[in-house]
């Protein structure tokens, strides 16, 4: 019962460079619109850390399709539920990953998606609750050339 904002999904699918070359160079030059997107979503209010479980690998096996499982702690009743969760990546050419909408009828604020990461970067989730409070969680996902282990 999660709806991915279609515009966001298109942004996700559209503007990504090939992963194979220069992931580190890309990491060194992080300067996408993540901060602006977050500021727009929060209205400049500082979100509290917590209530979100962001299941992402520490090191991506394939940057082109990284499994992400999101869980937000909430009773999901008419009085108290998760309204929406914005997910951004601060090292992709475009920061937008997805915005997930929930209602009390969702039952759980849970989603499983696959995202594309062009380089080592932070994936940041921000949840807006029905009372307007904001929570956040982040994880660094390393995108590596691979090999040489063992």
């Amino acid at each position: 019962m999660t709806a991915i904002n279609r515009r966001q999904a298109f942004a996700l699918g559209g503007g990504f460079v090939a992963l194979t070359m220069m992931p580190m160079a890309a990491h060194a030059q992080v300067s996408n619109d993540a901060a602006q997107s977050i500021a727009k979503f929060t209205g400049g209010k500082e979100p509290t850390k917590g209530r979100i479980a962001l299941d992402l690998p520490e090191i991506a096996e394939n940057g082109n399709t990284v499994p992400l499982v999101l869980n937000v702690e909430s009773p999901m009743t008419a009085d108290s539920y998760v309204k929406e969760v914005m997910i951004v990546a601060d090292g992709n050419p475009n920061s937008g990953v997805a915005t997930l909408m929930f209602t009390p009828l969702s039952g759980k604020a849970e989603a499983s998606i696959r995202i594309r990461l062009a380089a080592t970067q932070n994936v940041i989730a921000i949840a807006r609750m029905s009372d307007g409070s904001l929570f956040t969680e982040r994880k660094t996902v390393k995108v590596t050339i691979g090999g040489c282990g063992g």
Partner: protein, 564 residues
Amino acid sequence: MISRREFIQVAAATAALATGTGIGGLGRAVAQQRLTQRELLAFEAVGNVTIVHVTDIHGQLMPLHFREPSINLGVGEAKGLPPHITGKDFLARFGIPPGSSAAYALTSDDFEALAKTYGKIGGLDRAATVIKAIRAERGDKVLLLDGGDTWQGSWSSLKTRGQDMIDCMALLKPDAMTGHWEFTYGTDRVKQAIEGLGFPFLGLNIRDTEWNEAAFEASTTLERGGVKIAVLGQAFPYTPVANPRWMIPNWSFGVREEDVQAQVDKARKGGAQLVVLLSHNGFDVDRKLAGHVKGIDVILTGHTHDALPEAVKVGKTLLIASGSSGKFVSRLDLDVRDGEVKAFRYKLIPLFSEVITPDAEMAGKIAEVRKPFASDLSKVLGKTESLLYRRGNFNGTFDDLICQALLQERDAEIALSPGFRWGTSVLPGEDITFEDVTNATAITYPAVYRIGMTGARLKEIIEDVADNLFNVDPYYQQGGDMVRIGGLSYAIDVARPQGQRISDMRLVKRGAPIDPSKEYQVTGWASVNEGTEGPPIWEVISNYLMRQKTVRLEPNRAVKVTGA
């Protein structure tokens, strides 16, 4: 709780192993006379459970020389902690006299001289003798666990896709195993091999890529000495990153700390009084995991090939590091009561091959599985005037030899060779056989490539590998040592973040700085990319050695290390 007295006894047992075998200026015969099987096996039993652990055997069925690292740096919270101490610091930390048999087994100092005194270590027939003796003494209290990297690392393992090791290990009847290099035989072979094992191959952190569901058994429950034991298995978390993902496209790995906790909780709820994690995470990853996951009594570590003569304690969790290449068997006695480890005693038993009587049944099986390859293995390719070894963070002489062979045989300016931690040592004056070469190279993706790479790309690769080794968060490390580089020198500051560690890259021959925009001819092997073309690495090295006849590797000064 573990009493102070127990700690002292553990320390005393370690000291006994060391001091009883000190040789001073005595010769080989006297040294060996003073070292006995009885002494190596001596153990004052404790409690109701005995865990026997072997790991990272890497296809080594025969006794061997294996030089432990002289450089094994730790970063972040692991800096200066075992296993990140070497040489004299290691000896001092564990109270081991220089020149003793324990010093020879555990460190690199005076390796050449001590190797001549104490001879080869290991051999699965020696391991069998020790394991049988422990079982005879402790009966139904014993469980045997194999930490993986068992089926790969030799020519016979490669040619039989691990069947040689599977057949030999079957005689030891392990209770469970986990894996890493096992997966480089590909999905079908792994599935087929597991079916015939007769014991579980565990991997709680492996899911299928399609549905994100468990792909392997997470745990096995055993009863030993009246104690219900849950053994959880953790495969190498970065197998599809460090090794070819295309060989196992449907399996996804990862550290998956939450899954480990969930499995521990499930085991405890199911009545397990002892929870053991059979791990191929690597020591630093396990040390962090032990601090985060509650309820694990013992972590049997693997992957990073560390051999520690004492258990390391993190909270209530004991970490055991049993070395590699079949050099050691670990024995851990536990007194488990009321769902808690009340006392323990631990001994890392080095398998001095000239002291321990080989088990006849295993010796026969080893001879049988090696027979089809005997003439290939014994083929002499050349001779070395200096010690050939691999283990160490930045370089090893065996890798220098491989890089020289690559540069010459493939006519390139720069050679890249993976920082594998397995591979045996060859003493000065010894012949280099095809077995020695394949002990360092026998993998399922051996093609030697030759491509053009810009200086910028080279730096990126070196930075990337350095971060896999020196990221301050162990969960972002992959294990393995630094990529070995021929024809290129560089400086590394291990304390800096990724992208800033590597500087002063130069071509060794002319001393010219590497130009980021210039393209260089680069050769290497063990590419994780599908469809890499070129001759197998052992063929390239064999050709080089047959042309050279005799090699002598000078100390490598191409890497300047700071920040350690």
